[in-house]
């Protein structure tokens, strides 16, 4: 079934004056098509200057995260039939915009680097791989599915208020390595995330859980980190 949808898109064109404006496009889409299909159609048939990130278009790469009708989601995972006739699209909130729907994710990736997103294990490697039992794998299975689209961190009111806060995405990454039985740097990692801008800034607002396109319960992971930090004596002050 085909239907007309109005796409109201927030544009940002740095070389124009004024640089910000709202554009409206009316296009016909069928009930199987997604917001991303609409954007591609607009770019192909209405306005070639419309800029947005896309890559896999199947909810795996996480590049098309944007604010659709007031909520961060992946454009490739949102069917237009689930939305009202007027679809409002903005870039991810609180990150600097480069052009139209493309945001500068440098801050986001820097946070990720701060939690040391790699395996640390000084023990001599075994002949083949470091073995992990299926039970141990299940402990971190949910956190591994993160595609780093940035929806969670940019939906977090604490991050809006303070860009120094590590944010749900980086903390989830920290969880992924702290609870990995093959990793040996738990204390160093905990020391890095229990500072002023770490886990204690999370107020359990659950905005990140609402938006995660992979349906990861991020707050649950942060709360587990908090309990582990308390157990190990990393309470934010002097040890």
């Amino acid at each position: 079934m085909e239907k007309y949808y109005t796409f109201r898109i927030k544009r940002y064109l740095p070389e124009e004056n004024p640089s910000e404006r709202w554009d409206e496009f009316r296009i016909k889409l069928n009930s199987m098509e997604r917001v991303l299909d609409g954007l591609v159609k607009i770019k192909e048939t209405k306005d070639g200057t419309l800029t947005f990130r896309k890559s896999c278009a199947h909810g795996v790469c996480g590049s098309c995260a944007m604010k659709i009708n007031g909520k961060n989601r992946l454009a490739c995972q949102t069917l237009v039939k689930d939305l009202p006739e007027l679809i409002e699209i903005e870039p991810l909130p609180s990150l600097p915009v480069i052009k139209d729907l493309v945001v500068d994710m440098t801050i986001f990736y820097e946070k990720n680097d701060k939690v040391l997103p790699y395996l640390i294990n000084e023990e001599p490697p075994p002949e083949r791989e470091r073995i992990q039992s299926p039970e141990d794998q299940h402990k971190i299975l949910e956190s591994i599915t993160c595609i780093m689209c940035g929806s969670c961190t940019t939906s977090c009111p604490v991050f809006w208020a303070s860009k120094n806060y590590l944010g749900p995405s980086a903390l989830l990454k920290a969880f992924r390595f702290i609870f990995d039985t093959r990793d040996r740097a738990t204390d160093e990692r905990l020391a890095r995330i229990t500072g002023e801008n770490g886990i204690w800034r999370c107020h359990s607002i659950f905005n990140c859980v609402e938006v995660c396109p992979k349906e990861i319960d991020i707050t649950k992971h942060i709360l587990k980190l908090k309990r582990l930090a308390v157990k190990k004596g990393f309470t934010g002050g002097e040890k």
């Binding site: 007031g70 909520k71 009111p157 359990s204 659950f206 905005n207 859980v209 309990r227």
Partner: protein, 114 residues
């Protein structure tokens, strides 16, 4: 900036706002009480408290305290390990208990006036 509200973010914001209001209220409360020097001043203040407008204010204060307490209990339960799957149900259950307690409280508060 506009962003869609969720149960969790509303609960957080209400917790914050009630907390800030209660902080200012507590400062005023302690200030007034610490400046009561003799029994007459106390009696005068107490007769002033019988005013229906003040009673109405007390009902609002009662609602703020209840809301703040139950928001705190919800967060504490979540931090202690209650499954985050129930965060919304906890918020709704809290709101229901608050409503019931507030009506019971309001009944006793207003009995003093009428």
């Amino acid at each position: 900036m506009r962003y869609r509200w969720n149960t969790g973010s509303i609960a957080w914001l209400v917790h914050r706002i009630t907390g800030i209001i209660l902080t200012f209220y507590l400062i005023a409360h302690i200030y007034v009480l610490s400046h009561l020097k003799d029994p007459e001043a106390y009696e005068k203040l107490m007769s002033m408290m019988k005013n229906p407008i003040i009673k109405f204010g007390e009902l609002i204060l009662f609602a703020l305290v209840l809301k703040h307490v139950f928001a705190g209990i919800r967060i504490t339960l979540l931090e202690m390990g209650v499954s985050t799957k129930y965060q919304k149900q906890l918020a709704y259950a809290g709101a229901l208990i608050i409503a019931v307690l507030w009506f019971i409280g309001a009944f006793y508060f207003l009995q003093e006036v009428f």
